[in-house]
Amino acid sequence: MRERTEGGAKVYRLVSRSTETHGIGTSAGQSLHIPVRKALAGLVGFLLLGATLAPIVQNWRPTPRDSFPFSYYPMFSAKRGDTYVVNYMVGLDEQGNRYTIPFSFAGSGGHNQTRRQIDRLVREGKAAMLCQAIADKVGSDAGPVYAHAVTVRVVTGEFRFDDYFNGNKTPEKERIRATCQVARTEQAKEVGH
């Protein structure tokens, strides 16, 4: 601890060096306020550390609430079995071939945020609305990747970890939440052909 308290002195020496370089002395005023300032800083520091540690109690609450910038950091603490259930979107062409539709078609807030939003919409029974929005985007997408997609589906799949990471990526169960037809814009049709 002794070593660490020297940190402030080092910064101060740097400040002093800077002022000495320019031929300036230091004023010794306001030293009377030091105990008050130290007490205030100590209090603020104590409160900040308390606020950082306080979210720990969320771990024992029936419905824990996460927040920002003080969190109980629940990432990677969920109990998982041998399988994983996930909501995702697939595109199908006329022959029934499947394409992965990336999260960016469903939202603009990054992978994890959009995933949460997809989960929430599916949970709230709004999969059809989500599906239509994605189908509209796929229809207006002028890129060749989705040019042959005629149908979009929002699905919930269950995967077995051991199968998936040893080469078998077929879901153990798959439930179709919503199906929508892709209506192509003229521009998208031209690019597609």
Binding site: R4, T26, S31, S67, F68, S77, S108, T114, R115, F161
Partner: protein
């Protein structure tokens, strides 16, 4: 030096994500779930207001880094950063990689972090005004507070794992592997590139056991980093390497952690300009010595 490093990181974080964070303002209000300070809102802001706040944060970031009018720009940048990141996280997902950036900037923003290597220090020197000798303790206090906040956050992360239904068994290989596997599957199915290395190591459970144990040591042992400087540096280096391991195996990018800037407070960053000055002086002296010899 810490102010410059952390300020540059925070500025780059906002600048690099400007378009994504602006676009978030157009998300369906149904998905708005305010967190932190943004909880005062019952409805999202107009997208243009969000953009103005983002631009304001970037504009305030420059004087923060330069240390210009710091008594105003320090707290103002901290407050703006807290707001824009809280708002960015108010759409159904809280990313845990940004908490410490904001907490560190808040500590610095409300500390006298621009008394050296700043435009304010330069201005004061030109005006012939000095620093109060009584301020010395404040510099060290802010640095120690940043270190303490960092280790507390890691400790809370560790407690979350132990307090979860998995308890101490979280550290067993199978458990941590399933966490990584779930993350990899959803990444692939939602069109993000997963970690290729994870496929190769999936069947080596012992590797995940080591990872789990290391995580517990780093997270639950974090408070020990405050005991002395050497332990602090050792902890910082271990945590830093752990995040690089997470990146390679899990493809999870904690940029603040990976940059090493998060751990800068555990090292004597204030020595860097002194070292640079000494190096410059040594090089200049060598040049002077070498010049007559050539002639």
């Amino acid at each position: 030096m810490l102010r410059i490093l952390l300020g540059m990181f925070a500025f780059c974080l906002v600048a690099a994500n400007y378009f994504i964070w602006s676009a978030i303002g157009y998300t369906s209000p149904e998905l708005f779930k305010p967190v932190g300070v943004v909880s005062i809102l019952s409805q999202p802001l107009a997208p243009v207001v969000n953009q103005v706040l983002l631009i304001g944060t970037l504009l305030l970031g420059v004087p923060f880094i330069l240390g210009w009018r710091y008594q105003i720009t320090g707290p103002a940048f901290s407050a703006f950063l807290l707001w824009v990141i809280s708002y960015r996280l108010s759409w159904s997902m809280i990313y845990h990689s940004m908490h410490l950036v904001v907490l560190h900037i808040l500590v610095l923003g409300f500390s006298p972090a621009a008394d050296a290597l700043s435009l304010d220090a330069h201005r004061r020197s030109l005006a012939g005004a000095g620093q109060e000798a009584s301020r010395a303790w404040q510099y060290g206090f802010a640095i120690r507070l940043i270190c303490a906040v960092t280790v507390c956050a890691y400790f809370v992360t560790g407690i979350a794992k132990v307090a979860s239904p998995l308890g101490w068994s979280w550290a067993t290989g199978r458990s941590i592997r399933s966490q990584v596997a779930a993350d990899a599957i959803r990444k692939e199915l939602l069109g993000t590139s997963g970690a290729g290395l994870f496929y190769r190591v999936y069947n080596y459970v012992w590797l995940f056991t080591i990872m789990g144990l290391l995580s517990f040591i780093v997270e639950l042992g974090a408070p020990l980093a405050l005991l002395n400087k050497r332990l602090g540096r050792l902890w910082a280096a271990t945590a830093y390497l752990m995040h690089w391991g997470i990146l390679f195996i899990m493809a999870i990018e904690f940029r603040y952690h990976l940059s090493g800037i998060l751990y800068a407070s555990f090292f004597d960053m204030e020595r860097v300009p002194v070292w640079l000055n000494a190096l410059r002086a040594r090089l200049a002296a060598r040049l002077v010595r070498a010049t007559p010899a050539k002639a």
